[in-house]
Symmetry: C2
Subunit: 223 residues, 2 copies
């Protein structure tokens, strides 16, 4: 069986899980406590990071979520999620980079990493100025999501794409801890409601971390 | 004419310049002083970052160097630089991510950004502990380059690829300021000598920044 080593709240891992579901590829999930630095896992990926995808024949794909996603797109070209033609694909990839680099640095790292990952890694108290920055920065990005989905069916164009999946991978992790101010951003909320109703979201919406359950509305389609 | 808005020492811009040369695509270079936040440039890319590629018909590709590189691979598939087949391509992309994320964070940001970019951006004195960290971290990465090229013809396998270009885009920027300890890493040096002799390096090896010329051996094939 194909196996994905992952962390439930890691946006990169969520992206790969959603992509696997969109492509209807069966996969066993293994939650890897990377802070334990397990020998067997380090043999798979000396960098010690998730996600790591291991195919049934033992082929191992590492290098980060976008490397795994590009691999899945090429190895399983049915249900393409990167769009059609170099220009559309550049727009999908531009938005992927926006969320994985800019949004991650300005929002996800300041909130999800500070509040959750630091706790598991035993890195001490969350940094309150980082958390303030995360709460301030998220508005601008939610406005951008609203602006895009006012003008397009999905974030990168007519079709649901890996750009929507990537944005949702971050937003859903933030929503798990209740850090998305939905009331102030109806455009982004409408887009996320449509994403939430897709089958690919079922896995991540079912997540519950022991000792840190999600906020009440996390899995509700009507939130 | 196709135009690339760039900064001479930015590894991402160097990567795109080298890739354009490998693909024999003519391109005019425009050195963009991003810290001036020129209106016309911000219209092309509101994020204010380089590289930005503008095709002859006005099509504009933004989102970072790897987005531009993937676009060029798809729009101009001759002389492919990402390798053949999903697995080889995953290995090329794994190493690209290694250099663009890990090497950048641990080495390039600590040395090139601290010493050069801060000066142009008027961000004050370089941080000496960052510089110390950069000098300490580079050894491990140069050893990894040596280890890979002991086992393979080029970094990702038999063929010269975007992994070599990406690694060289960082290493060449560091070499410009004399920050690569070549004597201690003969394997990495041998690999870089082979990269340097490729026509795609001619452009970046010809760079001279006013007021900050390169070290003496920078463009020498015998260094």
């Amino acid at each position: 069986m194909r196996t994905l080593y992952h962390l439930p709240l890691d946006p990169g891992c969520r992206k790969v899980r959603m992509l696997l579901r969109e492509k209807q590829l069966e996969c066993e999930l293994h939650a890897e406590k990377i802070w334990e630095r397990r020998d067997e896992f380090l043999k798979l990926n000396p960098a010690g990071e998730v996600p790591v995808l291991v195919e049934e024949d033992g082929t191992t794909i590492t290098g980060g979520a976008q490397v795994v996603a590009e691999y899945l797109e090429e190895a399983y070209p049915e249900n393409p999620l990167l769009g059609d033609g170099p220009l559309c694909r550049a727009e999908v990839r531009r938005l992927i980079a926006w969320f994985d680099l800019k949004f991650w640095r300005e929002v996800t790292a300041n909130l999800v990493e500070e509040k959750m990952l630091k706790r598991f890694l035993g890195l001490g108290q969350p940094n309150s100025s980082a958390i303030r920055a995360g709460h301030a920065n998220i508005h601008y990005h939610l406005e951008y999501i609203g602006w895009l989905s006012d003008r397009r069916n999905w974030l990168a164009g007519e079709d649901f794409s890996l750009a929507d999946i990537t944005a949702a991978s971050h937003i859903s992790a933030l929503d798990y801890i209740g850090d998305v101010p939905w009331q102030m951003h109806p455009g982004a909320k409408d887009w996320y409601a449509r994403v939430k109703s897709r089958p690919c979201m079922r896995g991540v919406l079912g997540d519950t971390i022991a000792g840190a359950p999600p906020v009440k509305h996390y899995a509700d389609l009507d939130f």
